[in-house]
């Protein structure tokens, strides 16, 4: 087992260190100092199909163990709408970098964005993922007019992500609702892997 001390490392570094370690060893223990880092590691483990366990030592210390040999048993799940879309080749993801839709007038743009998300919930084919970055993170903040629609999408199995660096920049990290905080590595990956990218 390889041990990694990632205390004090910023956002994507613990994940990068862990991935590197997993190339040469089967079990990695990573110590991080924040919960978001543990969530990112969990996501990574799930993607790779590796076992994940976490132990909170204190508010500033979390120990995560990722084990290649202990894959999660929950592999045989019924098909989600995402997988159904994949089969039909209709899958898409929504990437949103602003609170306003289009250029011209921001009052109109705000109204259009709300309309966009309402209409999104009513589509026959839902997106696999909704990714919010830059001004788009405000859409997932407490009091946002599209929270109701984001909740509807989540209830229907859509994954909603918000850029952590962006939320931090605007000082709204604590107010982010419904969206999972993620980083640029993951966002690029989501863009790259999306069958189609839809931008309002």
């Amino acid at each position: 087992m390889e041990k990694i001390n990632a205390i004090g490392d910023v956002c994507p570094v613990p994940v990068i260190k862990t991935k590197k370690a997993l190339r040469t060893t089967d079990v990695v223990e990573i110590v991080v100092d924040n919960e978001i880092a543990t969530q990112n590691l969990k996501k990574m483990a799930e993607q790779l199909g590796y076992g994940y366990s976490m132990n909170q030592v204190s508010t500033k210390e979390y120990t995560v163990v990722i084990d290649k040999n202990k894959a999660d048993d929950e592999v045989c799940m019924p098909m989600t709408h995402v997988e159904v879309n994949e089969v039909k080749g209709e899958s898409y993801s929504v990437f949103c970098d602003t609170q306003v839709m289009g250029r011209g007038d921001d009052v109109l743009g705000t109204t259009l964005m709300k309309s966009f998300f309402y209409a999104l919930t009513e589509q026959d084919v839902l997106p696999d993922k909704v990714v919010l970055y830059n001004g788009g993170v405000h859409l997932a903040v407490e009091g946002s007019d599209v929270l109701e629609d984001l909740q509807t999408l989540l209830d229907k199995g859509v994954e909603v992500y918000a850029c952590g660096a962006c939320a931090n920049f605007y000082g709204v990290t604590d107010q982010i609702k419904l969206a999972e905080i993620t980083n640029m590595y993951r966002i690029v990956e989501l863009m790259r892997e999306a069958n189609r990218v839809v931008k309002p």
């Binding site: 009052v107 709300k114 309309s115 309402y118 007019d145």
Partner: protein, 87 residues
């Protein structure tokens, strides 16, 4: 039960949204007008039936004309819209 108020002007729709928000009608919101209703600027106010008197007051205060009310009828996954004649 929910009603829909259809506008023929986007400016009117946005003004009404501001009015209902100020009044604290949290369940009221603008949505894109359903495709089955054609006579519209494309935006409608969806609201609780119980709020209709208040919304009617706003309409009269703003002197908005050429608007229309619809009743939202949900039958399973199918939604239909029936015009309200008496308002």
């Amino acid at each position: 039960m929910e009603y829909l108020l259809v506008f023929d002007s986007t400016h009117q729709a946005i003004t009404m949204e501001t009015r209902v928000k100020e009044a604290g009608l949290l369940k009221a919101r603008l949505i894109p007008t359903p495709e089955t209703i054609t006579a519209s600027c494309g935006l409608s106010l969806k609201f609780q039936a119980t709020d209709i008197e208040q919304i009617n007051d706003f309409l009269q205060q703003e002197r908005f004309t050429k608007t229309a009310y619809y009743r939202i009828v949900t039958d399973g996954l199918q939604k239909t819209f029936e015009p309200l004649e008496d308002k």
